[in-house]
Symmetry: C2
Subunit: 404 residues, 2 copies
DNA sequence: TTAGTTATTTAATCACTTTAATTATAATTA
DNA sequence: TAATTATAATTAAAGTGATTAAATAACTAA
């Protein structure tokens, strides 16, 4: 247990100031003092240090026309630090370089099958894509303050160990340290749904929201939980295994052995599987014999293929039932739905909405906003980058590399 | 936002020291320094103040036979403070006086129907029971440092307002302030399941466990959530509305309008309702015509009444399904089952266990212990008392009344 | 121009922990 | 038995970050 000493209070106050500036965009010293509860003198001292380090700068003086001296607005220097985020998925890897404000300064996505591949192949690939992305952003590796990696599966972020992942069969693997050895950059790893949840807390729909959930629709279904402003990981990082919540008691058998898990109707794998069956049964007349992709199914459904549209509606319905369970248990302010599965659009989400409305006590439902924001592939990598940004804001003076 | 200053670090360090003593029972200054990370000098200073105030005392010197000066063990003075907890239920009120170590020093339970009663009647009743219990414990009201109240329903503990309760139809009600006006004792209110969860964290099965759930089986079903060592209340205090999680899609209609909610099969109300139907159908041959009570149903079921045993087994089964959902989502270290509903015993819990085993991925299940501790009526009031003890430990010097 | 108002900075002070030195008390060793 | 070693607890001095109060800066209104 670390003791509370002067270092701690300095860290807290620095964080609060930096965060106030981030949240407000540009803000004066007096306002910071009011927001953080610190004395004006103290704000002057700390902001002076931050200006000195190049983390923030005096943007302009605000002319309000009110009496008294005008406020000098302070703003973040977006170039104060750059961080890299990498998202590892079954069939692709994406990488993004973000600045201090969470803006993407360069990104790359590459398609490759990583399932059952050698671990060295994956870490090597990662090293390459990082170099390429940093170069694309016009930066050198020296200017990178940290690296965040989002991994599907169960991850112990404190030890940097990957315990289990759908990607490979190996046991515990020290991913963080292995990457650090290669690049010599401070590295953080985390479950992918959690990185996205953090990204929303810092830069997205979760700004200023203490309790929200993030549903990720990819190959499977993921859940990120923000509780009391903190990421909730469960006792061993297993929290949020939404996929195996039973929603259809008379449904199909799941890989886990149970029947009617959410994972059997929702997520790209389940949807493609159902589409394949429809094609085999002749309910979906399909040209050619190539492997069915998720995008293809969505496209056909949107073009009016009734059977496929039904599959999406059913998926939406069950998602809605699952959400109603979550709303009852968590009473979140927001539920944010992300992942490339949102491509399914209204076909899925109308059915979802209907199911949520039907299955949730209206008093509770009225407290929860369900949001499907615009989705980009690189959001995942940006999420991984936020993992570092978070650490950076927490102890900026220790983490930020000097701007050369 | 409160700024981080010297007061904060003192509060944190005091809390950590007091808590170390509480957890270990009796512990030396050096060990405290090691546990909390503080310097020995600092521990000496702070513990001296605490001894001065009568909060802790030098219990004895530990003779280990090791080299060097013997350690002086410090222990909590249980009489340093007394707190009162009151639990309000539909048909009873219980009250307990606890000491600094959470030991019950006196308790009273009284049966009375509080449904749809005047609020003044309830607060008046509360005032009386508190006076009686304090007297029974051999104490005066002056020696009471604080009062905690556990209320079924939705409570905003920060404002002390009771927003909604199954007990009465009135709207928002400032219960905390109303009681404070009567007794002039620092008062805290909280949802009843949450008080029990706190009690477990501080003095029960949740000691040292960061992530656990408490299921309360009373008239209905309640859920208390401990996430990252913090009570999780949701965005408006509605979190943990477990009762309306759907578990039996083809089940009975619930008061909330949906079908097959957990509340339709579990909890005293639902079970008595089902028993009543069994009696009406002639499946349960019952003497007399009095109102059926929960205890009577349990008794008859345990004596071999097959239909009633079936009702309990079904309830246990659905509870098990509900728990499997919770395990998937929360991955808790423990699930603690409490409330007078545990009287149902093995009849219910065997079925529960079977359902949990069947519906939960075994890798996840192995991480969660499900516990049904011994249950006493006054545990509720003790829970409410912990609400105050928690505050007391947090800022001991401000809250503890001088011992006269 | 002057008074009033707000923003920011500076200087002095305070409160807390830490480090280093010191005292206290025990077992071990010669 | 006396010196040595080890551990516990205390004390004194030093360091540090926030706060308060006073000073300065920069503006508006009259």
């Amino acid at each position: 247990m670390p003791s509370a000493n002067l270092d701690l209070i300095r860290a807290i106050n620095q964080f609060n100031i930096l965060n106030s500036i981030r949240i407000r965009g540009a803000v004066s010293r007096s306002e910071i003092a009011d927001m953080t509860g610190q004395s004006r003198a103290s704000v002057t001292t700390i902001t002076a240090q931050m200006i000195d380090k190049g983390m923030i700068f005096e943007k302009n003086t605000e002319v309000t026309g009110e009496r008294g001296r005008n406020r000098v607005l302070l703003a973040l220097n977006p170039d104060a630090a750059f961080v890299v985020g990498v998202k590892l998925a079954a069939s692709k890897m994406s990488c993004a370089v973000c600045d201090m404000q969470g803006e993407t300064r360069g990104s790359i996505i590459e398609y490759e099958d990583f399932r059952h591949k050698n671990i060295d192949f994956i870490t090597g690939y990662m090293e390459q894509i990082i170099h390429k992305t940093v170069e694309k952003a016009g930066l050198s590796m020296d200017s990178v303050s940290g690296l965040g990696i989002g991994v599907p599966g169960v991850v112990d972020s404190s030890t940097g160990t990957c315990h289990w992942s759908p990607l490979y069969d190996a046991g515990d693997f020290p991913l963080r340290d292995r990457i650090f050895e290669k690049l010599n950059i401070k590295t953080f790893i985390e479950n992918d749904a959690n990185t996205l949840t953090l990204a929303h807390q810092w830069f997205g729909e979760g700004k200023g929201v203490d309790n929200f959930l993030v549903i990720t629709l990819e190959e499977g279904v993921g859940l990120g939980i923000m509780a009391n402003g903190q990421l909730f990981r469960g006792s061993r990082g297993f929290a949020g295994e939404m996929g195996h919540v039973p929603v259809a008691p008379d449904g199909e058998e799941c890989v886990c052995g149970k029947k009617g898990c959410l994972a059997t109707v929702l997520g790209a794998i389940a949807i493609v599987k159902q589409a394949k069956r429809a094609a085999e049964n002749g309910e979906w007349h399909r040209e050619g014999n190539s492997e069915i992709t998720f995008s293809e199914v969505i496209g056909a459904a949107k073009s009016g293929q009734k059977e496929l549209a039904g599959i999406l509606r059913r998926a939406g319905h069950h998602l809605g039932v699952g959400l109603s369970v979550l709303i009852n248990i968590f009473n979140p302010q927001k539920i944010i739905i992300s992942g490339h599965g949102v491509e399914a659009g209204d076909l899925m989400f109308n059915a979802m909405e209907e199911a949520v409305n039907r299955h949730t006590f209206s008093d509770m439902l009225s407290l929860t906003k369900i949001i499907v924001p615009e989705w980009q592939h690189t959001d995942w990598a940006k999420g991984a980058a936020s993992l570092v940004l978070q650490e950076l804001y927490k102890s900026p003076f220790n983490t930020i590399r000097p701007v050369i």
